[in-house]
Symmetry: C2
Subunit: 304 residues, 2 copies
Amino acid sequence: MNARDRSDSAFRDDVLAAGLLVPSSVDGVYGRSETYENVAYGIERYVTRLGEHEVEGRLDFPPVLPRSAFERTGYLSSFPHLMGSIHSFAGDEGLHTDMVAQAHAGEKWAANLEPTDVMLCSAACHSLYPGLAGYLPPGGQAVQVTGWCFRREPSLRVTRMQAFRMVERVYVGEQDTAVVMRDRWLEQGRESLIAVGLDVDTVPANDPFFGRSGRLLAQSQRETGLKFELVFSFSGDEEPVALASSNLHQDHFGEAFGISTAAGTLAHSTCFGWGVDRIVLALLCRYGTNPDRWPLAVRGVLWP
Amino acid sequence: MNARDRSDSAFRDDVLAAGLLVPSSVDGVYGRSETYENVAYGIERYVTRLGEHEVEGRLDFPPVLPRSAFERTGYLSSFPHLMGSIHSFAGDEGLHTDMVAQAHAGEKWAANLEPTDVMLCSAACHSLYPGLAGYLPPGGQAVQVTGWCFRREPSLRVTRMQAFRMVERVYVGEQDTAVVMRDRWLEQGRESLIAVGLDVDTVPANDPFFGRSGRLLAQSQRETGLKFELVFSFSGDEEPVALASSNLHQDHFGEAFGISTAAGTLAHSTCFGWGVDRIVLALLCRYGTNPDRWPLAVRGVLWP
């Protein structure tokens, strides 16, 4: 039976039964097996090779970023329900004794903590922009960024993890070039997935903006064609899932982080992101849970 | 001039000037260049190969772990100042509007957030123990775990990052075997660093326990020989820095997570952890900031 004829929960059961992911007591937080990691690393290397002539450099960011950078992204306003704010203990020994006692009593000890100056990273490219403040070189700049991202959306759907890896290409520079790069990377991204047998569709999309006013933002984002997703059907009877996405930010980040083109105008930007974990899962769905038995052509692309 | 004749801040300047690490506005949070990442990955592969016959499996964990697991580790009691608790927004649109207004006014908006059921991972092995609850196979179990760890200790010392990668070997099982594994892995760990020219010393150590009562715990840990570190001198006039460490936990995690030996006694455990980022930095300090010019023998070990 083709994996795609099954439900998402049956696919999840297969992935867990094969030991590829190890569940925890929290939905969407998994340990990863050596086999799973080998596939993930193969995908990261693969898309990195594809982008060698597209970007001028590559940066890997830690899972945390400065709170001041997070505050500029607009995430607080648009996606407050998905953020991860990092808090720690800054009190004295008396407060510590009380807090430990609360924990032993099963009470909410974390109310004693203070927000730190770091947040969990919501999208890999957010860590890049602060370092671009000021004037860009002529023609702008294209960079590949990778990192762990966090989104607070516990789910039993194995394709919706709270912590996941993302590889992104980011262009920051001229308005016209941003549109050109968006179009080019969206097509290259589609080809990268088709090449390993993942028959994705390119569809207009919107982000999950918070609240009622968020619904208007989502509608506007869709109508202006700022976001596209490459979606894959894990099963016949459920919504297709985005394996990758393209965003045209216009001058949103240019303004937020004070980034100018060489000519002194506000920088525009675009990013194309591969969801590494979802691509691993799509391959497992498409070819089965034993990568040793995947088609040679696919193995050759992942592990040349 | 040998890098080790310089101060830590001069070494940091060199690493940043070479573009290997990209500083952020928060001390101890850095982006990593492609070159840096290649060294880090080389180290991870190297120590993984060394451990192939030492462990039965390998797991990679995300940067977050369940709060319930964190609560069992004892970290809240011993190292509250280093923890990273993840909070998010669970309020309604009215509270959201207020919070965004507070943020715009430069006020402490994060007080509106609620603790989630996840924490940042403090040590890679913490994510492993919940899955071992119950009875171990005869002889116990040895696993390699890798992951991003977080410790809330902002510092300008480049060797003290807030977010860093760790590779650990963990044995959980019989009391006697835990001591045997501790001794063996400590010696193998020392050899792994000596083999790439890092002349580390094995020294008794203690963890940075919180508060006055913590000082007694630290003293006891040292006197009972439960913790050893492999330390390296980055510069002549500063304290050597741990590149790796060994911990004998006795039955601490066995009791906390309900892990029993096959015979039904409380499991003992030990771990040996390589601080991947510190080893990268030690190699940069020892051989210079251009890995292309490192000795062939070292390059051959990292990239065989």
